[in-house]
């Protein structure tokens, strides 16, 4: 049977909780032995989804955002949910650079970042009902000549190399 583990998190839609949310998910996923880059990817994607919930879902009102996470085998599943305004046109909202709040310095890249940093992204939304963002990412367990193992021991120099190599492949 595949190893499975779940967690649920609920917090106020205050911007100071954005870092709490992404760091919590990052801590939960360490059980899968991710690389530094994989952790950074997930932190960015979670940050995007939570920021969307706070800015667009609740538009500054303080209500609840929930995150549900499941680890199944080597896959991380993350759900970020709000019960706010919702999105009338999801495909439009997901277009790169599209934003409804340009005056607030929104880049319109939130969903693009989630797509870029995770393996899959699904958005369910209904006006006045809220939005649920579902993301998945497979965490590799390959070791590049042992360098990944070195990383876990905290030897950052080797880590930098590993990330550099991985980036060249992208």
């Amino acid at each position: 049977m595949m190893h499975q583990n779940e967690m649920k998190l609920e917090f106020d839609s205050r911007s100071c909780n954005e870092s709490f949310a992404r760091v919590t998910v990052a801590a939960f996923m360490t059980q899968l032995d991710p690389t530094l880059e994989e952790v950074a990817d997930v932190k960015t994607a979670v940050s995007e989804a939570v920021t969307n919930a706070i800015i667009h879902g609740y538009e500054g009102r303080v209500e609840k955002v929930t995150i549900f996470c499941r680890l199944e085998g080597q896959e991380l599943y993350v759900e970020v949910r709000d019960y706010g305004k919702g999105i009338a046109d999801v495909p439009r909202a997901m277009e790169p650079l599209y934003t409804t709040k340009e005056e607030c310095d929104r880049a319109g890249m939130g969903f693009s970042f989630m797509e870029a940093f995770m393996d899959s992204l699904e958005v369910e939304s209904a006006p006045e009902r809220g939005t649920c963002v579902k993301m998945r990412k497979r965490i590799s367990r390959e070791t590049d000549g042992g360098s990944d193992d070195e990383c876990r021991d905290g030897t950052n120099a080797r880590c930098g190399e590993a990330i550099g190599n991985r980036q060249e492949r992208l």
Partner: protein, 111 residues
């Protein structure tokens, strides 16, 4: 608390925090805009030396300040950008409008 803004002549450097997200970007934005409006700032430098996390809110803040500076005829650069932050700046397309330096730029007249 470390100094976030340093002004030398017409050059303002913004020393970005460890994590540049919506929360921290909002705080920087308000003060940066006030300084750009009230002081004679011709060049803006975003210093990434201490930054290890940035999301699209950080990108939005940088692009917003870039538009503001360009409107006033000034310029914007990003300095001391590490590998992880370079990845975000590249993915977002910011590198197309803002020069990115690994260290401090050697361009004369920038200081």
């Amino acid at each position: 608390m470390n100094q976030v803004f340093t002004i030398a002549g017409t050059v303002m450097t913004i020393h970005l925090p460890a994590e540049l997200d919506h929360h921290s970007a909002e705080q920087i934005r308000a003060e940066a805009d006030r300084l750009i409006r009230t002081r004679n700032i011709r060049s803006l430098m975003f210093d990434f030396a201490g930054t290890s996390f940035m999301d699209s809110s950080g990108i939005g803040m940088i692009i917003g300040r870039y538009k503001m500076m360009r409107f006033m005829g000034g310029n914007v650069v990003a300095i001391r950008v590490g590998e992880a932050m370079r990845r975000i700046l590249t993915l977002s397309g910011v590198y197309k409008v803002i020069d990115i330096y690994e260290d401090l730029p050697q361009q004369p007249g920038l200081y």
